[in-house]
């Protein structure tokens, strides 16, 4: 008996050890991508000079690296990390492989907010007008759906269907306002939808960072509950999980993360959907590991996409929203084809 249980323990330690190693590997990869990101730009500042320039408080190189490159790299990490993380939460709670941070209509809500700000707020000259409206309407759409599921009960089907309906509603409203707009305004709206990290400065990082990082520990604390949820709502309930509370709290927190991300950068699609899948294929679905791994994967992909996007066709930038899909989709297909056993 004794030897058998110690064997199981050993195997378990072995498994978690592998998962921890994977996360450490991702972290090293992220650090490496960040160093490359910091050393690439229109001005040729070498890798070591770039890193030195972070700490040296003078000269153009310092200004460039400290005020432009570093914020951009950090924003990419926050955005990718936030979307990967939130995507995992949505997939766990809604128990649907197609769920993503945008399933509850957050992206179209944010897009609608941006359109309203661009069309009607042209006079109110505040750099936070567009992000503010985008944030507000992103949260509005998810709270609307939470309200519906408060009445109907938080079943996955209700939330997903309500999310899709909200998405279509906001998309139509966006199209309607675009149709009303002048040529200049239509142009601005289109560019907002591409997403951009060029606007990222330290102030934006402070605001976005708070919205993205503060929910992290609370969600991590729920990772056991997510594991139990995958056995079904009834089973989880029987095991002592307060299903309703877990679902609603985690959706509010994940919506906050998603809104914090897209209000400053525009819509960066796809990564919140695939980062969790990539990790699930590689390390399985224990949320204690899946959550941080998805966040790191999202961060690596968005950072790599941005660095490639601003170097491949320099000085013209390939917008981040487009580039993320360009490098994420092929990698995703590769894993999908290679994977032999069912992973979802």
């Amino acid at each position: 008996m004794n030897t058998e249980s110690s064997d199981i323990h050993k195997e378990y330690r072995n498994l978690t050890g592998k998962k921890t190693a994977f996360i450490i590997l991702l972290f090293i990869l992220l650090l490496f991508s960040a160093i490359i990101g910091i050393s690439k730009g229109a001005l040729s500042i070498g890798m070591f000079d770039s890193i030195k320039a972070i700490f040296k408080d003078s000269g153009t190189a310092h200004a460039i690296v400290w005020k432009l490159r570093l914020p951009r790299v950090i924003m990419a990490i926050l955005v990718g990390g936030g979307l990967g993380f939130a995507g995992t939460v949505f997939q766990a709670v809604l128990k649907n492989p197609l769920a993503s941070p945008y399933t509850l209509g957050i992206a179209s809500g944010a897009g609608f907010g941006a359109v309203v700000a661009i069309l009607f707020g042209s006079g109110i000259a505040s750099e936070y007008l567009v992000p503010g409206f985008a944030f507000f309407f992103a949260l509005t759409s998810s709270f609307f759906i939470l309200g519906i599921s408060g009445i109907k009960g938080p079943s996955s089907e209700t939330m997903i269907l309500a999310g899709i309906a909200t998405m279509f509603l906001f998309s139509s409203l966006t199209s309607f306002f675009q149709y009303m707009g002048t040529m200049e305004q239509v142009h601005e709206v289109v560019f907002w939808f591409f997403g951009s990290l060029s606007r990222a400065g330290w102030k934006e990082i402070g605001l976005a960072g708070a919205m993205i990082l503060l929910p992290f520990p609370f969600i991590m604390k729920m990772s056991w509950d997510f594991n139990l949820l995958s056995a079904g709502d009834e089973a989880a309930k029987a095991l002592g999980v307060n299903v309703k509370r877990i679902k609603i709290t985690s959706i509010i927190l994940a919506s906050l993360i998603t809104s914090g991300v897209i209000c400053f950068t525009g819509i960066i699609g796809f990564i919140g959907l695939v980062a969790p899948h990539i990790c699930r294929m590689l390390i399985g679905s224990d949320h204690r590991f899946l959550l941080p791994a998805s966040a790191l994967t999202g961060a690596v992909v968005v950072l790599a996409a941005d660095t490639l996007g601003r170097t491949l066709w320099a000085p013209q930038v390939i917008p981040i929203g487009i580039m993320t899909s360009f490098i994420g989709v092929p990698f995703f297909f590769y894993l999908l084809m290679k994977k032999t056993k069912e992973y979802w």
Binding site: G41, A42, L43, T60, A63, I64, K67, L68, R69, P71, R72, S122, G123, A125, S126, E127, Y179, M180, T182, E184, Q185, H187, E188, F191, W192, F194, S196, S198, R199, G201, W202, R310, A314, P315, Q316, V317, P319
Partner: protein, 295 residues
């Protein structure tokens, strides 16, 4: 020609300049949103948006001619209107190069050749005056022109690129492959332009009394991280130009402002406000009003 429906505000301006406003039977719905600029025409029947008009309303007005942009609305406009015997005429009136020619075409169709010639001559003379002077300069200043969206520059094919050339500036984005590519803030710092011009979309300029919006946009650009390393920012040569004088028949006003910003000594005697006033009084029969640039 007896009855016209005009879908674009650019064409409507030209119609008014040709003294043909009484022929207009219908206008686009945006006309209503700029009532001070269109004191009389704003009350005419509306036929929908410039890019998606209501063909039933147009047919109901039974005009002889409908004028829209070359590209939009699409070919469905001809398909929908030809059964009613309504001719579609497509004239842009926003490209500087072809403006005078388009005005003459419209003038001959409307039998307003005299007015068309007067307008085209006035326009050409203003353009030529600037061209004559900048031909003598051997080094043009480097200019970064940003479109309405932050960090989207203006490459070949954009109206801004064309205007910059007419005003005697070297657009640092003119070598790009697409009209409005995104650039990194660092690239602009690296290029270190002498002058920055920002396109601002602030609505109907004619009805705006104070330059606050333009001023705020300028402050935002000056305060961008690390942009204090750019020559234009250090020397205060950051200018904001509002949408209404970017393209369209009033682009000549925008060009005059740019020319003066690019070559202050060379165009000391040119006052863009006077050109603007003259255009509005002589051709549009309205008083000067609104804000268009800052500072």
């Amino acid at each position: 020609m007896k009855k016209l429906v005009i879908l674009t505000s650019d064409a409507l301006e030209i119609i008014r300049a040709l003294n043909a406003a009484e022929l207009v039977a219908g206008v686009n719905s945006g006309t209503e949103e700029n009532p001070l600029f269109w004191p009389k025409l704003k009350d005419l029947p509306k036929v929908g948006r410039w890019n998606g008009p209501n063909y039933e309303l147009i047919a109901g007005l039974n005009p002889d001619l409908v004028i829209g942009y070359a590209g939009r609305p699409g070919p469905e406009m001809e398909k929908k209107l030809s059964p009613f015997g309504i001719t579609v005429l497509r004239l842009n009136f926003y490209k500087i190069k072809t403006l005078a020619k388009e005005v003459k075409i419209l003038g001959s169709i409307l039998k307003k050749e005299k007015e068309a010639k007067e307008f085209a001559d006035w326009y050409q003379q203003k353009i030529e005056l600037i061209q004559d002077r900048i031909r003598k300069i051997d080094k043009l200043p480097n200019v970064y022109i940003e479109s309405y969206t932050d960090y989207h520059s203006t490459g070949p094919g954009s109206g801004a690129d064309e205007m910059c050339a007419y005003a005697g500036g070297h657009n640092i984005s003119s070598g790009f492959a697409i009209p409005y590519p995104e650039v990194t803030p660092e690239w602009v710092v690296a290029k270190n332009p002498d002058i920055i011009v920002k396109a601002a979309s602030i609505g109907r300029c004619y009805q705006i009394p104070k330059p606050d919006k333009l001023k705020n946009i300028r402050t935002g650009i000056i305060k961008r991280p690390a942009w204090d390393n750019i020559s234009a920012v250090r020397k205060g040569k950051v200018y904001v130009l509002a949408n209404d004088i970017w393209t369209g028949p009033m682009a000549i006003v925008g060009i005059s402002y740019m020319a003066k910003w690019f070559h202050p000594a060379l165009f000391k005697d040119i006052d863009p406000v006077l050109i603007h006033k003259e255009y509005l009084k002589k051709f549009q029969k309205i008083k000067y009003s609104g804000v268009y640039v800052y500072p």
